[in-house]
């Protein structure tokens, strides 16, 4: 056995040396000078260019969390990207190759994924990350390599704030900034006459920031925040916490958390006689038919803040059909559509900036690609009309409030018409 260990390690060392060799000749391809047909002009882009040979695929990377307790979030967005690729298999006449990395929903995963992807000179752009903690570790690495990245589910405000670090220049997102969503729900609640609100978060950055923004905004408008509670995403027994909230006598509970815990809070709140008539509301984290299933009858009358689907309903319904046929199950989390849009945002920009060198060879300048992406205007996506701000917020800023009409997941069809479930009630 000891011998085989020695042998195995020897093998590994050999393997590393062997594989290092074929990697070397790939480097010069980065340079513009190529003798064959399709002579590309010398690359003048400050961040370098990627040259893609004839029939060579365009490499786009994803960085999602696909294992561990948060895996459904990453699997969901990964599928969004895959379906987008099925719908648009070629960009600028070249096939697309998706490569992926697990970001683990933590900083170390983000760093590992970012290092790996940024060391691949053929990667043109990336979709990711899922979690803001992973993003903060990955962004400097990706931007250092000049690879623009679009996140479908980072919602932390600081990532696209006016004063964000200069090294975040290549980062943008199709997810909604918590500032936009939390404020919208606070405004709605206040307008409808609610004055005593309670909030619940689950210790995730997403939920914590949303409830924070909601609370600040609600207080600014003149309402009271009577309780700010927190739970765990895997918690099931919400009864005790809800009993505690009930004692504070709120008339509105804001729970911008995810499906599993959100379903528990909603159904168990209805079982509590003191909370049975309190208005419950969540965010796009639980804007999904699965939530109806998890919450049961209690989902009737529930409120969500979410992008306005009214104008884009049919495309989304179409997407859901493809999803079920391809993966055999319903969508897992709320960010697949954002991932779908992220892919298309990248694809549009590539087609805009790609330099045709003739003979099927194209050249993609990196800085120009990022510039094209961040100047996206009025792109029709599944999540609305996408327009990017100079600091990378690309999500449609129009937020609507929806109300659950029926608890039957089969009727889920947001925005199909004025009375479809859930129903758009604001603005």
């Amino acid at each position: 056995m000891k011998k085989s260990i020695v042998l195995l390690s020897l093998l590994l060392v050999m393997a590393v040396i062997l594989t290092a060799c074929p990697a070397a000749p790939q480097q010069p391809q980065q340079q513009a000078q190529q003798p064959a047909a399709g002579q590309c002009p010398a690359c003048t882009d400050p961040k370098g260019c990627v040259t893609i040979g004839k029939d060579e695929p365009i490499r786009i990377a994803w960085m999602f969390v696909v294992e561990g307790p948060d895996a459904s979030l990453g699997t969901d967005t990964k599928r969004g990207v895959e379906i987008a690729k099925d719908d648009r298999p070629t960009i600028a006449g070249h096939p697309v190759e998706l490569i992926g990395e697990n970001e683990g929903c933590n900083a170390e995963g983000g760093q590992a994924a970012g290092t790996k992807i940024s060391s691949d000179p053929k990667v043109v752009a990336a979709v990711g990350t899922n979690c803001s903690s992973a993003a903060r570790a990955a962004i400097p690495l990706m931007c250092g390599a000049g690879i623009p990245m679009v996140s479908p589910s980072n919602t932390a405000p600081d990532l696209t704030a006016e004063d964000r670090p200069a090294e975040y220049w290549c980062y943008m997102r199709t997810a909604h900034n918590d500032r936009v969503q939390g404020a919208a729900m606070a405004k709605y609640a206040y307008e409808k006459g609610f004055r005593n609100a309670a909030t619940i978060h689950d210790g995730s950055l997403y939920a914590d920031k949303l409830q924070q923004v909601f609370a600040e905004e609600f207080k600014k408008l003149g309402g009271n925040i009577v309780a700010q509670e927190a739970t765990d995403p895997n918690e099931t027994n919400m009864g005790p916490m809800l009993t505690r909230i009930a004692a504070a006598k709120p008339d509105f509970i804001y729970l911008p958390i995810f499906i599993a815990a959100g379903g528990q809070v909603t159904s168990q709140a209805k079982q509590n006689p003191d909370l049975a008539n309190v208005q419950l509301a969540g965010a796009d984290g639980i804007f999904s038919p699965d939530f109806l299933k998890a919450a049961g009858d209690a989902a009737k009358g529930f409120l969500w803040s979410s992008p306005d689907f009214t104008a884009f309903g049919s495309g989304y319904a179409d997407f859901l059909k493809k999803h079920e046929a391809k993966y055999g199950e319903k969508v897992l989390a709320p960010f697949h559509a954002h991932a779908y849009d992220a892919y298309n945002l990248i694809a549009n920009a590539i087609e805009k900036v790609a330099v045709d060198c003739g003979g099927g060879v194209i050249q993609i300048p990196r800085q120009a690609l990022r510039d094209a992406m961040i100047s996206t205007k009025d792109m029709k996506g599944l999540t609305g009309n996408l327009t990017c701000t100079p600091t990378g917020d690309c999500a449609d800023p129009k937020i609507a409030v929806y109300e659950g009409v029926s608890a039957d997941p089969a009727t889920w069809n947001p925005g199909a018409d004025a009375n479809s479930n859930p129903r758009k009630i604001w603005p």
């Binding site: 050999m14 594989t19 933590n106 940024s118």
Partner: protein, 548 residues
């Protein structure tokens, strides 16, 4: 096969166990169906191992066929006796059975909608299993292929053991090299010719090594001791040089070795607590978290309530001190607890620390789920190098110091006290060993090393979040030292490479990483309960136990 072979085997009085062959084939079939339904074939069908020829999904299925058919061929007569050409038949039979079972799955799957339960029982899977040729033809083809593969594997059993080992190594090397090429150097598999070359190369090397290696070792053993020592020194300097040169492989390999290194550091620490002193600690992550948060609080400009903003180097001794103090503090209440009571209390301690850092309660101080960001780097990298490459030298220094401390302690009086306590606390106490001091020292040393790991972790990421400090880290470190060989210092290194390094390399397969990790843990423990590189004494003890 023919009457003569049958009679010849009968003459040798070897009984043939055909039922075992069928049994192994059936198990193989179950494994193949499992691989299909768990989604591996489908999910990995897009990743190339040999360009235009083989995908990772197919390689896995191929592995099932070859391994199980080979096992079946071996089972025909048992390990000692040779079955002769009949083993080819046995292999083919097993391969055929696997194919038949897969074919049954396809047939059933096309009649009944299995997808209501098994999400991977999709048309795409049936297409892959019928080799894209539809039900009747594809299935016949699958069976033929299965029989051929089985026969090949059975034929492998016929080869002399030296050649067999070399060929199997060559076979295993092809996918490994290909996957490494994909993982490390952003390549896309290898070409068919490349695969052939790799196979030939590794087979030859391994075949050559098995003859030359033994001789070389004998010759070394025959050398005078002075020259042996010289050889040893040359060997060690080569290792040291290699370790120093590792970052030259590039930023991504550096990232991997940094992570492995941090685990080695923590493994060395936990090895003292669990391996030397026999105290089962399932909450080792607590000290890792405390070390990281100490650095975060002391260095990050974000912390306004304690505006020290030290450099990493200034904060490091404080982090170590925090580790020592918290290790001792945890040690006191658990002094009287033994075995599994200790395990659950330490596990609880780990969770308490994480939850407190996450809580709204301490949010104004440590940021809650926001964590602490903008932690400075320990050393700014020189032009052309990445942070990860530079960080390796800090990690390496940590490992060297930790290994030195661990070795010195192990062979000192304290080390012997720990080991006596590990074997029997009552006897140790009766022999005059101060249990309190001995236990607390083990906890404190272990905690200090973990805190150093945490400190390096914090500067590696420049931002820390409570989610990074979950139970999985504790379990991972424990698995590293046990798989490596408990109590053994080189074992920690091997364990970390196997359990942290390999999974990092195989990030691509993230969805199945923990599945494989779990299976490997079970398999390793069943095959080598003493670990990969066990401490000599442990090994003795274990085998003593087996003989009784």
């Amino acid at each position: 096969m023919t009457a003569t072979t049958l009679s010849r085997t009968a003459e040798k009085e070897t009984t043939l166990h055909w039922s075992r062959v069928v049994g192994t084939g059936l198990i193989g079939g179950v494994v193949a169906i499992y691989v299909g339904l768990v989604g591996m074939i489908e999910a990995l069908a897009g990743r190339v191992v040999i360009t235009g020829l083989l995908t990772t999904g197919q390689v896995i299925l191929l592995g099932v066929y070859l391994l199980m058919s080979y096992q079946a061929a071996q089972k025909l007569t048992g390990a000692d006796a040779k079955a002769g050409p009949l083993s080819v038949v046995a292999g083919a039979l097993a391969g055929l059975i696997i194919s038949i079972m897969l074919a049954l799955l396809v047939v059933i799957g096309q009649q009944i909608n299995l997808r209501a339960m098994f999400i991977n029982a999709s048309p795409r899977l049936w297409e892959l299993l019928t080799l894209g040729r539809g039900v009747p033809t594809g299935l016949v083809l699958l069976m033929a292929l299965g029989a051929v593969l089985g026969a090949l594997a059975g034929g492998l059993a016929l080869l002399p053991s030296r050649l067999r080992r070399a060929v199997s190594l060559g076979l295993v090397a092809v996918p490994i090299v290909s996957i490494l090429n994909t993982a490390l150097f952003a390549g896309r598999g290898v070409s068919a010719l490349g695969a052939l070359l790799i196979f030939a190369f590794f087979t030859a090397i391994s075949y050559g090594w098995s003859s030359v290696g033994g001789q070389a070792r004998e010759r070394v053993a025959a050398l005078p001791s002075g020259q042996q020592r010289l050889l040893k020194m040359i060997g060690w300097s080569a290792v040291a040089l290699g370790a120093l040169a590792l970052p030259l492989l590039g930023p991504y390999p550096s990232e991997i070795i940094d992570t492995v290194g941090i685990y080695v550091l923590m493994g060395l620490g936990l090895n003292i607590v669990v391996g030397f002193a026999g105290l089962l600690d399932l909450g080792y992550v607590a000290f890792f978290a405390l070390g990281a948060y100490t650095i975060g609080i002391l260095t990050s400009p974000e912390i306004t309530w304690l505006p020290l903003h030290l450099t990493w180097w200034e904060a490091l001794p404080i982090a170590i001190l925090v580790g020592v103090i918290s290790g001792t503090l945890l040690g006191i209440p658990v002094l009287q607890m033994r075995g599994d009571y200790l395990a659950i209390v330490t596990l609880g301690f780990g969770e308490i620390i994480r939850l407190i850092f996450l809580s709204d309660w301490l949010k104004p101080l440590v940021g809650g789920s926001n964590g602490i960001t903008r932690i400075p780097r320990a050393v700014p990298p020189p032009q052309g190098f990445s942070d990860q490459q530079v960080l390796w030298y800090i990690v390496l220094a940590g490992i060297v110091v930790a290994a030195y401390i661990a070795t010195r302690l192990k062979y000192s009086r304290i080390g012997r006290n720990w080991m006596a306590m590990r074997e029997d606390e009552d006897v140790a106490q009766a022999m005059g060993i101060d249990l309190v001091k001995t236990k607390l020292l083990a906890f404190a040393t272990g905690a200090a090393l973990s805190a150093v790991g945490g400190a390096i972790f914090a500067t590696k990421l420049t931002s820390i979040y409570p989610h990074s400090f979950n139970l999985l880290v504790s379990i991972n470190v424990l698995a590293v030292i046990i798989v490596g060989g408990m109590g053994s210092i080189p074992g920690v290194l091997v364990g970390a490479l196997a359990l942290v390094g390999l999974p990092e390399l195989l990030r691509e397969f993230a969805e199945y990483r923990l599945l494989v990790y779990g299976a490997v843990l079970v398999f390793m423990m069943l095959k080598r309960p003493e670990g990969l590189l066990p401490e000599a004494r442990r090994k003795l003890e274990l085998h003593e136990g087996e003989e009784v």
